[in-house]
Symmetry: C2
Subunit: 369 residues, 2 copies
């Protein structure tokens, strides 16, 4: 069991990481935010799988289920409106709280509903996928997509409490689990050589979802992310290092139309490209670049990227929302555990790094690990 | 010319009140927030009337017009989505700013677009109606309606700058001007006996929109509102006094289906009811209650409320979003210039006060003034 405190401008909140938390959710919520009406914004598919356990945990509280399909196409303002409307009709007021239950999309949508309903009510995050547990549930980013781009409408809204039940990973599909591991590897690369080394050597425990390994990965990730976010809540500076692998990752997601790859898989690609770019820019040595590639690829199989054009992918960067005034920002690796930003690296290098990532990701996994 | 500084948690901002500001908008914006791409969220009807003047003022800046009809039915998330999408397609990034141009709805919608686009970019408010100038442009409340209720989705997002061009009132329809005056009267009742007395005795200058009178009303209102909001930005306590007249006002708006009354007219009704309720609760003396009624009614003609049932209006209060845990909060007058809250006054008194307001508002104005 791990218990961490995250500092944010709006106050401190607790992240609990423990097996079997769902069944104890109600008691912990009551102790933390007091007696409130809870509105459970749940991904329909997750609710079918884990709803019984959470329902048992909420016994005795006054709560209302708002279950709805929460795939990527539903991550839109129309869904926010539907959920707010259901809450209002069910009598939600300023003292009510939202419990967001599911993967990253449930957290983003449920969090934005909490941020916006009556201009902001309390949120409890209960992430059920590894990706959401190590990433989205800390930091307060919430939001939805526009037709023209991802995550373009949203709010910073810190939760009051985050409950991570490691047991919820037992039913997570293998591909999603492995995609989630990429954000753990990312946390190692950007800020902890030790976590990275653990991911290198702990492959067997990690892939069989050993409880101790899972708890460690999540706790380390939450610690790293919460440190970064504490220093820079609004993404003025340091927080941008969390975008490592995301610049070209987002470009790849856009280029493949968002259907082909899981987010973690796109980040895997983006990290390989960013590591190569770091080498091309004389920041990272070849040996560490290879360690990054090997570790990333040991945890993920990326669907075939055949036929994709590196130049086209690279050209998408200037449309990314992390760009400012048309300049592309890249987070590059100086050594494993330490990164820094580079503004507008030469286009040729970006294309070469992208080309390299396309090649490496297309190799049969057996050749790499 | 008046220049006020408003303090908010997110920093200080400037409110400028002056005739002819539209033509100088660009220079002041440049001096205040630096050189930015501006996206002008404008009510189509206001743009038709005043757009040339603002366009002249923005010459030399890089700006994009997003003109759209912004009546009450368009104050919805679909409009926010449409505007954000247009901004993104036009290349808006984190450093861009929104300039909200028009009445209260333009401010609410444009402000919420600024609060949400990429999780928050800068906003400049340029209110063109009296109501928006004395009320909505200060305090950072932004948001839109749901099908099931008004202002239920939104954010607190302080502007970086507010430009109030008193000349823009020259083209404001008489009924809207008079509805806006009600919020000025409200500011007097809740916090300044002096402003109230000015509204009592300055009737002639006020109704002919004398420049000095207009500037004084707006400056006093901004000062009062910004003091209240500085002390209580998030509506935990003091800020609720700004809701004076709004509890029963909102109930009346809901009961009449939002089409019949302007917001200021509903507030006029709500203030008369709240003053009567204050008398019934032995807070306010009859003479001051009458002064309030007379001053309110001297500035407004409320459309016929015949056939409305006081009991039904009062019954709507518990559904109002200012209610907590089913208890109705009323802001009541202790003396002119000073108010305090009462939780759940007896239902009979609320009905009697509502009934009184229905009667008084139905009298021919000549009998009252």
């Amino acid at each position: 069991m791990a218990l961490m405190r995250v500092e944010a401008a709006a106050g401190q909140y607790q992240v609990r990481i423990e097996a079997g938390l769902l069944e104890r959710a109600g008691r912990i919520i009551g102790e933390t935010i007091g007696s409130r009406r809870l509105f459970v914004v749940a991904d329909e598919a997750v609710w079918a799988c884990l709803g019984d356990r959470l329902a048992a945990g909420l016994e005795g509280l006054e709560w209302t289920l708002l279950s709805t399909p929460l795939g990527e196409p539903r991550k839109r303002l129309a869904t926010v409106e539907e959920l707010c409307d259901r809450m209002h009709r069910a009598g939600a007021d300023r003292r009510s709280a939202v419990l967001a239950f599911g993967g990253g999309i449930a957290g983003d949508v449920g969090g934005f509903v909490a941020a916006s309903y009556m201009r902001g009510i309390d949120a409890v995050q209960v992430p059920t996928t590894l990706l959401a547990q190590v990433d989205a549930s800390v930091g307060g980013k919430t939001g939805v997509n526009l037709a023209s781009g991802k995550n373009l409408v949203g709010a910073f809204h810190q939760p009051r409490l985050v409950l991570v039940d490691t047991d919820s990973l037992n039913t997570l599909p293998e591909r999603e689990y492995r995609a989630g591991l990429q954000e753990v590897v990312k946390h190692g690369i950007i800020r902890s050589g030790e976590l990275f080394a653990y991911m290198e050597r702990g492959h067997s425990a990690v892939t069989r979802r050993d409880t101790v390994a899972v708890e460690r990965m999540i706790a380390d990730s939450v610690r790293i992310k919460s440190e970064v976010v504490r220093i820079d809540e609004r993404e003025g500076g340091l927080r941008r290092i969390l975008n490592f692998g995301h610049t070209l990752g987002h470009a790849l997601e856009a280029e493949t139309g968002y259907g082909l790859l899981l987010h973690g898989e796109a980040v895997a690609f983006g990290m390989i490209a960013a590591a190569k770019l770091s080498e091309l820019r004389s920041r990272l040595n070849a040996a560490d670049r290879e360690r990054i590639e090997e570790t990333v690829l040991s945890y993920v199989s990326i669907p075939s990227l055949e036929g994709l054009d590196a130049r086209r992918i690279a050209a998408r960067i200037s449309g990314d929302k992390k760009s400012v005034g048309g300049k592309a920002r890249f987070v590059l690796v100086d050594r494993i555990g330490s990164v820094s930003e580079e503004l507008d690296p030469p286009e040729d290098c970006v294309v070469e790094a992208t080309q390299h990532a396309l090649q490496v990701c297309s190799l049969p996994a057996a050749l790499v690990v």
